[in-house]
Symmetry: none
Amino acid sequence: MKKLMRGLRQFQENYVPAHKKLMSSLAKGQSPNALFITCSDSRVQPELITQAELGELFVIRNAGNIVPPFGATNGGEGATIEYAVKSLNVDHIIVCGHSSCGAMKGLLQIGKLEEKMPLVYNWLIHTEATRQLVEDNYSDLEKTDKLDMLVAENVLTQIENLRTYPAVRSMLHRGNLSLHGWIYNIHDGRILAYDAERHAFVPPFEDPGKEFSHGNGASQMPGEDRLARQQAQRIFKGSY
Amino acid sequence: MKKLMRGLRQFQENYVPAHKKLMSSLAKGQSPNALFITCSDSRVQPELITQAELGELFVIRNAGNIVPPFGATNGGEGATIEYAVKSLNVDHIIVCGHSSCGAMKGLLQIGKLEEKMPLVYNWLIHTEATRQLVEDNYSDLEKTDKLDMLVAENVLTQIENLRTYPAVRSMLHRGNLSLHGWIYNIHDGRILAYDAERHAFVPPFEDPGKEFSHGNGASQMPGEDRLARQQAQRIFKGSY
Amino acid sequence: MKKLMRGLRQFQENYVPAHKKLMSSLAKGQSPNALFITCSDSRVQPELITQAELGELFVIRNAGNIVPPFGATNGGEGATIEYAVKSLNVDHIIVCGHSSCGAMKGLLQIGKLEEKMPLVYNWLIHTEATRQLVEDNYSDLEKTDKLDMLVAENVLTQIENLRTYPAVRSMLHRGNLSLHGWIYNIHDGRILAYDAERHAFVPPFEDPGKEFSHGNGASQMPGEDRLARQQAQRIFKGSY
Amino acid sequence: MKKLMRGLRQFQENYVPAHKKLMSSLAKGQSPNALFITCSDSRVQPELITQAELGELFVIRNAGNIVPPFGATNGGEGATIEYAVKSLNVDHIIVCGHSSCGAMKGLLQIGKLEEKMPLVYNWLIHTEATRQLVEDNYSDLEKTDKLDMLVAENVLTQIENLRTYPAVRSMLHRGNLSLHGWIYNIHDGRILAYDAERHAFVPPFEDPGKEFSHGNGASQMPGEDRLARQQAQRIFKGSY
C-alpha cells in the first residue's frame, strides 16, 4: 500500500502538471475510439501495451477476458459493452487474451474448481465452448500446448459471444464496428492478431527489431519452439 | 486503430527491451498485492494513477465500478474477486470511483434507461442502494452535487457488497485483507480515500505542491467550489 | 391438531376478552417498532422471549434466520424487509440466531444435503460466507464448538447482507435505523447481543439473578463450559 | 428497544425458571407437530393464537404468508418447507392469512408498488393467481369486501402452491401430511378454517361464548355485516 501511495504522489507531482491541458479537455467528456476487453491479470496493462493516452481506451477487465453470451448473466460485461457501443459509439472492440492465463489454466482442470472456487467455476461455464472445442479436437496435445490453444480459442469464443449482443449486431450490420481478437505474450510483449482471411493469429505488423524476431512473421506463434511448424500453424488457425 | 498499432510497436521497441528482466520474471507467475476495481471510463487508468509496474495490480473494470452483492449475478465480478482473494491472496481491495462517471449519470435518470439501454438499466439495479440513499436524503441537491454524492456513496455501496462474498468475509475475519474506497478526480488527478473513523473521504496523504492544494486537506472535497464548506463535509461523510 | 384447537379456544376464551381494547386499537393499523428476523425453529418464540404484546414485533422466520444479499433471490425476505422499513418505518432490525440451529448443523455437512434436501442446500448458499469463514479459520474446533461459531458468525453475515438492501442502506445513512445481532440460547433462555465496539457477543444487560449467572457477564458465552475462557472469547469476537 | 430489554429480563426472571424442565428437554431436539405459515404482521402471533408451548410450532413468516410455487424462487420458504417435511416430519401445514393484511392491500393497488416498493411488487407476483381470480370474478365488490376476498383466496392459492413442492406432494400421497387454510381476524381473534367439503371457510369448532357469537357458525364470515348472506357465503366458498 505504501508503494501505491508513493505512486499516487508521483503521478500528481509528475504526470498531472505535464498533462493539464489533456486532463482539462477530458473533464468535458470522453470519446474513446475502442473498447478493450482483457484479463484482470496484473501482467497485462492495456494502456501500456498500446501506449494509449488517457481518454483513448474504454476497458473491461475480468478473469479470462470472457464475454458471456447475451442473456446468460446480468453482470457488468453486457452493460459495459452496451454503453460503449450505444452511448460512446466506439469503432472497435478488441478482445485480448494472453499467454499463461490463470483462468484458462482453470479450464484445463475445471473439475477441481467446483468446490474450491465455485464462482470461478460458474464463470468459466460461459466459455465452456472453448473447453469443449479443445477437448474434442486437441485432447492429445501436451498441457502447455493445450493451454496455448485454450487461450487462442477463448478469444475467438468471446468474439462469437460479442456478436450475440443486440447493440453489437446492429452496429456490425451497419458497418460501423469492427471486432478484433488479440493474444498478448506476457514473456516478450508481442501481440498476435486474428486474421479471419488467413484463419490464423498473426503479427499485426512487421516485427520491428531482430531482438524479438526469428526472421519471419510466423515465428511469433506461441508453441513454435515446442511444436512442429505445421502443428503450430494448425493450432493458430483457430475455429473460424 | 492505426494509433494503437503505432503504440504496440513503440511498446515493443522501447518498453520491452528496457524491462526484459521484469517480464521474464513475471512469466513465471504473478503475485499482485492489490485488487483494483474501477470504472471502464477511458479517463481512468489504474496503473497510471498509481504508477504501478507490470505485475502489481490485479484489475476489474466495468461501467460504474460496481460489485453486485454475492449471489445477485453470475457475471465476472464475483469470480474475479474470488480468484484474487483465494488464489492470489491479495492483501488489499480498492474500489475506485471517479468524478463525472457516466454510469452514475445514468443512475440520475434511471427511468430513461430501461428502454434505451436495458442492459445498463439492469446492471445499475445492483447499485440501487446508492440511488435510493441519495434520492431519500439529498433530493434537494443540484444535479452536479447530486452526481458527486452518487459517486461517493456508490463506492461505499460496493464496499458493503464486497463484504457479502464468502472469500472476502473469511479473509477480513482473519485480518488478512483490507478494503479501501477511493474517488479519483478526472480533472486534476487527485484521489480521496474513505476514512472510516472520520466518516469522510479525505486525501490519503499531505498534498504535495501548492499547484493542487488550497491550503488544507479538506479542500480536496469534490463540490467544494459549488457547496458551502459544511455542506460539502456533510456530503462526504458517507453512510458508514 | 386437537391441542391446537384447544389452544384456539383458550385464546378466545381467556386472552381476547382481556385484551379487547388493544385488539380494537390494532385493528385500525399496526406500527411495530422492530423487525425481528429469527429461525423457524419451534423452540424460538420471538414474542415470548421479548414478552412482546400484539402489535410490537414485525417478524420474519425462516430456516436459519438467513437474509439473502440484495438481488440474490426473489423470495419473501427482501420484500418483507422493504415493507418493514419503507412502509412501517421500523427503528430496529434484530437478527436473532439460536444455539443448536438445525440449519447451521446442515452447514456443517453441506455436501450431504445437495441430493437429500436440494432446497435447503440452495438456501444455505446464501450464508456460504459463514461456512467458509468458519472452515478457513476454525477448522480445528470440535463439532459442538464449530456449531456455536457458525451460529454466531451466521448472525453477523446476515447483518452484512442486510446492509446491501437499498431501503436499509438509506435509513442507516439517515440514522433512523439500528441493526442488532442476537444469539438465543435455547437451553437457558439467555440472549447475547453483538457489541460492535467490543467486537463480541455480550449480555445486553446485567444478569438478573444468580440462578442463571456465573458471577460475571462474560460467563454467558456459549461454549464456555467446554472451551477455555480465552478461546470462547476469541470465538465470539466475530469478524467485524 | 428499552421495552424489549425489559421483556428479555422478565422472560428470564419469570418464564425460564418456571419452564426449566421443558427447556432442558427441548435442548436435546425439537419435534414440532405442525408447520405454521403466517404473515409477518405484528398483530398475528401464531403461538399466542394457538396457545402453543415452546417446541410445538415450526413457523414461517413473511409478508402476506405467501409460498412461491416450487422453482419460482430460491428464497427461504421452499427450503424451510422441505426441512419441516423431510427432516422434522411434521403432520400438518397450516397457512394462516389474516384480515386487514397489508400485502393484500398492496395487491389491490399493485401498479403503484412497482416503483415505490419494487421488492414487494416482485414478491406479490407469486400470488398473482389470487389477484387475477378476484379481478376476473369479483371486480364489482367494494374495496373492503374485495380485500376480504383477496385474503381468503390468497390462503387457497398458497395451499395450491404448497402442493407443487416435491416433498409435500410425496407426503400427501402417502397420507402422512394434512394441509390447512386458516383466516385470523385481527379484530376479535377468531379463526376460520377452510372446509374443503363445504367449500367454505368455517369456524373450526363451536364458538365458545355468546360474546363473540351471533348464534350460528356462519356468522363468523368476514363481510357478513356488509354483504348479503348469500354473497358472503359465495365469497367464502373459495376457489376449490
